[in-house]
Symmetry: C2
Subunit: 523 residues, 2 copies
Amino acid sequence: MNGAEAVVATLRACGVEVYFANPGTSEMHLVAALDEEPALRAVPCLFEGVATGAADGYGRMTGRPAATLLHLGPGLGNGLANLHNARRAATPLVNLVGDHATHHKPLDAPLESDIDALAGTVSGWVRRCSEAAGLHAAAAVAAATAPPGQVATLILPADISWSPGASPAPPLPLQPPAPVPDDTVTAVAAALRSGEPTAILLGGPATRAPALRAAARVAATGARLLCETFPARLERGAGLPTVERLGYLPEGARAQLHGLRHLVLVGARAPVSFFAYPETPGLLVPRDCHVHTLAGPGDDAVQALAHLADLLPHATAATAARARPEPPAGDLTGESVATAVGALLPEGAIVVDEANTSGLWLPAATAGAPHHDWLTLTGGAIGQGLPLAVGAAIACPDRPVVCLEADGSAMYTPQALWTMAREGLDVTIVVYANQSYSVLEMEYDRLVPTRDGRARGRAARDLLDLSRPDLDFAGLAQAMGVPAARATTAEEFTAQLAKALNEPGPHVIEARVPPLFGPSHAS
Amino acid sequence: MNGAEAVVATLRACGVEVYFANPGTSEMHLVAALDEEPALRAVPCLFEGVATGAADGYGRMTGRPAATLLHLGPGLGNGLANLHNARRAATPLVNLVGDHATHHKPLDAPLESDIDALAGTVSGWVRRCSEAAGLHAAAAVAAATAPPGQVATLILPADISWSPGASPAPPLPLQPPAPVPDDTVTAVAAALRSGEPTAILLGGPATRAPALRAAARVAATGARLLCETFPARLERGAGLPTVERLGYLPEGARAQLHGLRHLVLVGARAPVSFFAYPETPGLLVPRDCHVHTLAGPGDDAVQALAHLADLLPHATAATAARARPEPPAGDLTGESVATAVGALLPEGAIVVDEANTSGLWLPAATAGAPHHDWLTLTGGAIGQGLPLAVGAAIACPDRPVVCLEADGSAMYTPQALWTMAREGLDVTIVVYANQSYSVLEMEYDRLVPTRDGRARGRAARDLLDLSRPDLDFAGLAQAMGVPAARATTAEEFTAQLAKALNEPGPHVIEARVPPLFGPSHAS
């Protein structure tokens, strides 16, 4: 057995069944090793950012790592942005990167680069595979799945791959989340009993149903229930507790936190603003608010919350009522798209939300939809939505995936559409075609001091605008084998969404919506 | 003047006129600063790999740096692969990366990552801008243009950008290439006079016309003229010396170097094989061949070669005769595409070659075409061709650009097509649609030991094949505003190529060609 075979066999024994792959010459023995294991699924990705984003989506939905298969430093480089998002999502992920043979590296061949340095920026664990390839692979899975989950990068030199004499290793024991000490829970209970304004901020693994239900029991005694701005996987909808996401803009988040005397962190960190602005502090917690950490990201949040609830007076947790908006009519806008999604979202849907500014109305419109998962842009590196949808659909083949995608972000990793077609994935993609980087239209006006009424210059006009020519997303999808339609009214959109949701396989709907923010100074 | 304005004004004073940009919130003051300088050109790129590849193409063609404008670590990550290629091309390039405000970095906001570590893997120079923003910007240009050229990354924190009190700095003196000492030239002259088998290997800046002409005078005394496998910019065609590129596969390169007793390096490094293979040495130079370095990459190769020629007996340098093949007929193949390109390539064309296996016949078919430049995939990180063509076209608006692009590589950075449409660039793109990663079909068979006649498994079949569904490149181009056609015969292709070359603006021709290599074991 060669090293590649030992790695693949070990990963399989550890439960890694899916590879999101874009291999090159240095990974051909890994491809051959996958050939020997017909039960494994090797998913071709035409760009590495698709592979890494898909592995993130798969890990978020299963709690188990998928593997990537990337070619040397440049392949890893192309996958970094979505590994960054996976890092912020604390997704278990085995990032498998081929390297030149160990004797070839010192020759500095054209594709040689510092893989270790790149991997270090996104990985909680990086190791270079030696002869004991099986042991390294088992350690990679153990690292990836250590609570709350992380990117574990295993670098596999080509000569280790092709050399015989390797053997697979057994799985290492799964590490459970750390129990939260009683006195931590007791201290938080005292704060909650104080009667002072208190909020619970959920994040990381605490945005899943069991933690939400326990948190809602706690909140029912008089605290507000918040979750981080960009949760990795938020379970929501009818029958589940309603949780308010912290706002993206610091003004909004600060208003939500205003007046609090206690903030209880459960799997979340103390909130900070997404970007810095002049004369604006980045820490969002009010100065006189006491921050309590009930459970860190790797701790057992469900146990801690249940224990906490038991220490408090019994109260009935509120849950969202089943309620759907009426299908919209008239103009197609971000708001009417949200209304249609709320009206039609299927039971058990996985929503991938990279709608950015166009998505403003989505949380309210879908709050009473049937139980669903909401996956967000955890790390702010756009180009995540379509790849994440690939991974979610492969993780959960019996659940519909709805990908709500801003046009600027869609153009980062459009290659994911081809993988959806190849694999026949049941993904309904809505592209909000507002022909602009609308969030930057807003941020430009927030950041750049008033220009004495002057028009914006050519650079701002050219760089924030996605028209001239308009992007034809329906055409783009069809060119990659995905059926597509274009909607310009709410009625058209609703009909196309219903059709796409009712048919298997991927569909793209290009929703022509106006931008939420445009240039405030006419040019 | 704020820091962003000081950077932009300084870069302008240093000759940086073009920005290939994909900014985010942390770069809005840089966008505003570009607005204040209407003579500057800010080219919108829908993905950072387009921006960095375009800056590479611009730098290769002008010898002067363009700037990128990238958003934080993930933006830089998306641009790394083409920065890797630029590093291997020794292209002068100012890589401008925005960062969070200095006081915001410790908060570890979602987009925070280790920009410095990423930048270090592709840059010869990395600096974080402090208050003296103008001085840093001038130093970046000096670093980028230090012979032979390199990627200089300037990281600009948002608060440095927006804070007043900065001022522009004057350009630093341009550093010339280092003169080659007389005794180095004399020693090489002795080797050439020995009468023993000798070759001159040109690389880096020594593949441009002045160095080629001087090298051909030297070679005329009895040496062979070779150049590196992947030159950054090779001038060639009728009236120029013919230079043989070293082969990509080690067997081929070794055959070219077989029997040599002297190898004279001019701007090139001693050649090594692109990839490692079992039981195959990576160094390509024969064991008993003496390697002489006449000029390193930063040395004055033209002066050294001219001096060398003067020390040798006078001989007339051979040049390529003007000769074009007849336009092809019949089946459309890599060979007939090459024939058509050779028949029609315009005077002064810039050829961007990411044709990979399909390009095998191009060098011979175009050897006698009118004087042109040939730009290649210097670092092996695919997805370079379309972005490089963007930069070359902006650098040389009066010259036609012909981009010969493999389908697998085209799918890495297809967003470049939109920038071509937006900017109205005169680029004729030929996509070799062979529906496979043909080079990997070959490498799989070279690397994976015979499988006892067994068919390949599903992983190899799925991962090396780009069909199921076929990619529709004409549709893809049209969806991004680029006129496109599809050719299935040599006659169709020739007519479409002639039409595209005769019309201004970008055009895509999808050439449906068979793969050069396919699965050798039927599946």
